[in-house]
């Protein structure tokens, strides 16, 4: 089935099997490998991208479900001149990553969280990111980064 998905603002068109998962479409058809696969069972959040502006787990969405829709991945955040998105900058400054495997998903989930709760408290951030697992940081600096980005946005 031929589908067209707008990824990071640009239309991508590919012939896919209906069973193709969105995360495989992004990584293998669109060639954007920033989105990671962790658990493959919708638990860890590593594969989080934005579908029409909201965080979703792309291992649990079919590519055909995204036909005609807009997807943003971690590659779509920084400006053309390389200036980081405020959330990326906050992760960088707060040392909110160690191995980095969870980071693309964490950043995408965090941006979606602040879109919905712009004045998020620490409790809001911890609860709002419950769908994203990090095996390295203990979450402390991730929460700090999201709160810093929230402050900057106000």
């Amino acid at each position: 089935m031929q589908i067209t998905v707008t990824v990071n603002g640009a239309a991508t068109t590919h012939d896919v099997e209906p069973r193709r998962l969105l995360v495989h479409y992004l990584r293998e058809d669109a060639g954007l490998t920033g989105t990671n696969i962790g658990c493959d069972t919708s638990s860890c959040g590593a594969c989080t991208v934005h579908l029409n502006g909201e965080a979703v787990k792309s291992c649990t969405v079919l590519a055909v479900q995204a036909d005609g829709q807009e997807v943003t991945t971690i590659e779509g955040l920084a400006a053309a001149d390389g200036t980081l998105h405020p959330m990326q900058q906050a992760f960088h400054e707060c040392h909110a990553l160690q191995c980095g495997y969870c980071t693309p998903g964490m950043v995408m989930a965090s941006i979606s969280l602040l879109d919905e709760v712009p004045d998020a408290t620490e409790a809001d951030v911890r609860e709002g990111l419950e769908g994203n697992l990090c095996r390295c940081t203990g979450y402390h600096n991730i929460v700090k980064a999201v709160l810093q980005a929230a402050g900057g946005a106000q």
């Binding site: 909201e54 079919l62 055909v64 036909d67 609860e127 769908g131």
Partner: protein, 275 residues
């Protein structure tokens, strides 16, 4: 993990969905948000030959005021239920339960209709619908609407009263009218499914208590409701929470532990509902 191959049909209206169900029969499965069906398909526990995507059937999305009840389209996403003003004002127990479903990403995709049609005893939403005496509305091949009470709807493990060629269209929930409510969910980790959960509404002559994961299907705590109607206090009524229901044991909890949790959570729910 990749699902077995299937044919994909996307429909834009309820009529088209019903026509596609008629055409493909037992080989077909409806796909709403996909957050119960796709995990099963990835594990190959489900392998439908045809997937009918109803995710874009906009006529079945949204919340409307039905006078004495709130009507919620089957394809309304958890996120849209959770933040809806009418839901929060008139049937706040549903908003409270919905906020506990999975995580933000899951609630951006999953729908209330999918949660119910799946018939999972571990799902949070059915307990709230039982406690509030909701009615499900289904449309069949003849185009006629059928109303099914929450008690009749959940018929067994992953089984409901829906026929294979029927479409769940709407959920109608009587307005609570300010009666006290509470949703209690016990998990070991954030984001988990409930080990046991309790939905309760109590006050002004109303007593409704629904249980999560306490039987092979979503059930109400009928003994608690009866005791409350006869005027029992919260502690005495909650002590009956495991009467007449049949939980199973698994990695997370033994039967006895589930029974204990049901009593404790029902007490907490009734206390919170009393305000």
């Amino acid at each position: 993990m990749i699902p077995a191959a299937f044919d994909y049909v996307r429909v834009d209206s309820a009529d088209e969905a019903l026509a596609a169900l008629a055409e493909h029969g037992d080989d077909a499965k409806l796909l709403a948000g996909g957050h119960s069906l796709l995990p099963l398909m990835k594990l190959r526990l489900a392998a439908p030959a045809v997937v009918i995507d109803i995710g874009r059937v906009d006529e079945l999305k949204g919340v409307t005021d039905g006078g004495d009840h709130v009507a919620i389209g089957a394809l309304t996403r958890h996120r849209d239920v959770e933040i809806n003003d009418l839901v929060n004002a008139e049937v706040p127990l549903l908003a409270a339960a919905t906020r506990h479903v999975g995580d933000a990403q899951v609630r951006h995709r999953g729908t209330i209709g999918g949660s119910i049609a799946h018939g999972d005893p571990a799902s949070d939403i059915p307990s709230a619908l039982l406690a509030m005496n909701a009615t499900m509305v289904a449309r069949g091949q003849d185009g006629a609407q059928r109303e099914i009470s929450a008690d009749d709807f959940f018929s067994g493990f992953l089984e409901t009263a829906l026929n294979a060629d029927e479409l769940l269209t709407e959920i109608r929930i009587p307005k609570l009218g300010g009666v006290g409510f509470s949703f209690q969910k016990f998990t070991r980790r954030a984001q988990d499914w409930a080990i046991v959960g309790v939905s309760a509404v109590h006050g002004n002559g109303t007593a409704g208590v629904g249980l999560v994961n306490m039987d092979s299907k979503p059930v109400r705590a009928a003994a608690v409701e009866a005791a409350l109607r006869e005027g029992a206090g919260a502690a005495d009524a909650a002590a009956l929470a495991a009467e007449g229901v049949h939980p199973s044991s698994d990695l997370n909890a033994s039967v006895e532990y589930r029974q204990h949790l049901a009593r404790v959570l029902t007490k907490r729910a009734l206390d919170e509902a009393a305000g």
